[in-house]
């Protein structure tokens, strides 16, 4: 029963993909949309193969992936302990919450000029943009996840003789693990958005730069190739995170994938 359900969901997802590609084929091969606006699927695939052959595909992907990872990891390293502390200490929370809420509403794009002024056009500027884009959201998400742990479990642990530290280590941390994995999965997605912002402003490699440069030469096929690559990397990241969540918290039942 369960397998059948999964098969139909997979099939539906596949059908949606196929429909979009079909529409793309119809619009481009029939010539009803000019090739300058919409390249044919063959042109895009050929472009990707060509880039893979001359090595620029790997170089650009690698640049972008390493920027996302470094900027995002920085944000994770700071946000995890800070969010946990906020969930645990009303005083600390009162101290940092207002500034985090304020910063959260600043569009990162509006901070680009300042980062350029302070940090120049080097790698640090890109990490900073990604950090700023994800950090403030992640802190609040971590805080929410950690403070959302079922009160019953915490009370049970306390009446079983667990100290405050033991409650944290043995109950709150394992209980929030699946939620934290979800938070990480969501923010790494946003990190990709901010990476492209950073690379479009000042960079000489990476997928964002590749897309921006192609615009100048009206190389729509390269733009499409870049977009497809970013989407694919996103899908793979999401998939990896889902598998990781299942590995670190096999006991976890997601409400959405019920029976």
């Amino acid at each position: 029963m369960k397998n059948k359900r999964i098969d139909t969901t997979r099939l539906l997802s596949l059908i949606c993909f196929c429909l979009i590609i079909l529409l793309w084929c119809l619009a481009s091969y029939s010539g009803s949309v000019s090739e300058i606006f919409l390249p044919t699927p063959t042109a895009v695939v050929e472009k990707i193969i060509a880039m893979a052959k001359d090595g620029s595909l790997w170089a650009n992907c690698w640049e972008s992936i390493s920027r996302v990872m470094i900027g995002w990891l920085w944000s994770v390293v700071v946000a995890l302990p800070m969010g946990m502390l906020m969930a645990n200490s009303k005083k600390f929370s009162a101290f940092v919450q207002p500034i985090i809420e304020f910063a959260r509403y600043l569009p990162v794009v509006a901070l680009v000029p300042l980062t350029l002024l302070y940090l120049g056009i080097g790698e640090n500027q890109k990490y900073t943009i990604i950090f700023l884009g994800t950090f403030f959201q992640l802190v609040l998400m971590v805080c929410d996840t950690v403070s959302g742990v079922d009160r019953n479990m915490i009370n049970a642990a306390r009446t079983l003789g667990a100290s405050k530290f033991q409650v944290y280590k043995e109950v709150i941390l394992p209980a929030s693990l699946p939620g934290l994995m979800d938070d990480l999965r969501l923010t790494i997605g946003w990190a990709w958005t901010y990476l492209v912002v950073a690379e479009m402003v000042a960079a000489n490699n990476g997928l964002g730069y590749m897309i921006l440069k192609s615009q100048r030469y009206l190389a729509t096929d390269t733009i499409f190739a870049g977009l497809i690559l970013i989407g694919l990397i996103g899908l793979i990241t999401d998939w990896v995170f889902r598998i990781l969540t299942r590995l670190v918290a096999p006991w976890y039942e997601r409400l959405a994938d019920g029976k």
Binding site: D150, N152, M153, N155, A156, A157, R158, T159, L160, G161, A162, S163, Q166, E170, V171, P174, A175, L177, A249, W251, Y252, E253
Partner: protein, 262 residues
């Protein structure tokens, strides 16, 4: 007889103060539980029963009054007062075995000893063979069995139970009540059990404290003298019916008084 008292609650008051709203939850509650005794507290919903047991467990603090365990004043939760909750409170990432071992691990007992003690209590609640199951694979009744084993494995001086069978279906509830009566007889555990179910109170208790509506106070203490072992056969006995109708009368009065107030 007096030095036999395990838990003594004296003049307990609890007032919830939230800005302009002041709710008196408990008013001058006193009670005594002797060693190995099975004591029930029965009262209408919202009478402050859960607040009372939370104060005894140390999860909440009283506005005034004291809770003495073995003559010592208690403050804050501790392993000497084990508690079984109404909602499922098992740790979903731990197997049945590890759940039962939890308190022992907190105490720092070595692995081998932990395993032996846990195995004994898992058998006591009839879950032998389910040691490696995760909570999500168990039914509601089985989950509460694990919760009972987990609390007992810690060997608390008193077992506090807050409507532990409230979420179970009627048949499972009777099975669990018989299991608990049997455990109480075999292990001589001191038990304080809170419920709004009169049948449950009379079936299980050596003594029953009846509470009034809010602010909760003790209206009466009854001694239940039913033959052992306590099981579903007791439910049809004349003595059982007599005590039951007495408590029903009292609680009915409480709720009609409450209705008149409005």
């Amino acid at each position: 007889m007096r030095d036999d008292v395990m838990l003594r609650v004296e003049g307990l008051n609890k007032v919830f103060d939230s800005g302009n709203r002041r709710v008196e939850a408990l008013s001058d509650v006193s009670l005594e539980i002797r060693k190995s005794e099975f004591v029930m507290i029965v009262g209408p919903s919202g009478c402050g029963k859960t607040t009372l047991i939370n104060i005894i467990s140390g999860l909440e603090s009283a506005t005034s009054g004291s809770v003495l365990l073995d003559g010592r004043q208690v403050s804050g939760p501790g392993a000497d007062r084990g508690m079984v909750f109404q909602g499922y409170s098992l740790f979903p990432w731990l197997t049945v075995q590890k759940n039962v071992e939890f308190g022992l691990k907190m105490k720092g007992l070595p692995t081998g000893e932990r395993r032996d003690i846990a195995a004994r209590y898992i058998e006591l609640v009839g879950l032998k063979g389910f040691e490696n199951a995760l909570p999500k694979q168990l039914s509601g009744g089985m989950k509460q069995r694990v919760a009972i084993a987990r609390t007992l494995a810690n060997e608390p001086e008193i077992l506090l139970m807050d409507e532990p069978f409230g979420a179970l279906d009627a048949q499972t509830r009777v099975v669990m009540q018989e299991l608990l009566a049997d455990i109480s007889r075999r292990t001589n555990t001191t038990i304080l059990f809170i419920t709004h179910d009169i049948d449950e109170a009379v079936l299980l208790g050596d003594r029953v404290y009846v509470m009034s509506r809010r602010p909760g106070r003790i209206r009466e203490v009854l001694t239940v003298d039913l033959p052992e072992p306590r099981n579903h056969h007791c439910l049809v006995m004349a003595e059982f019916q007599q005590i039951k109708s007495h408590i029903m009368e009292m609680l009915w009065q409480e709720s009609s008084d409450a209705a008149m107030d409005k």
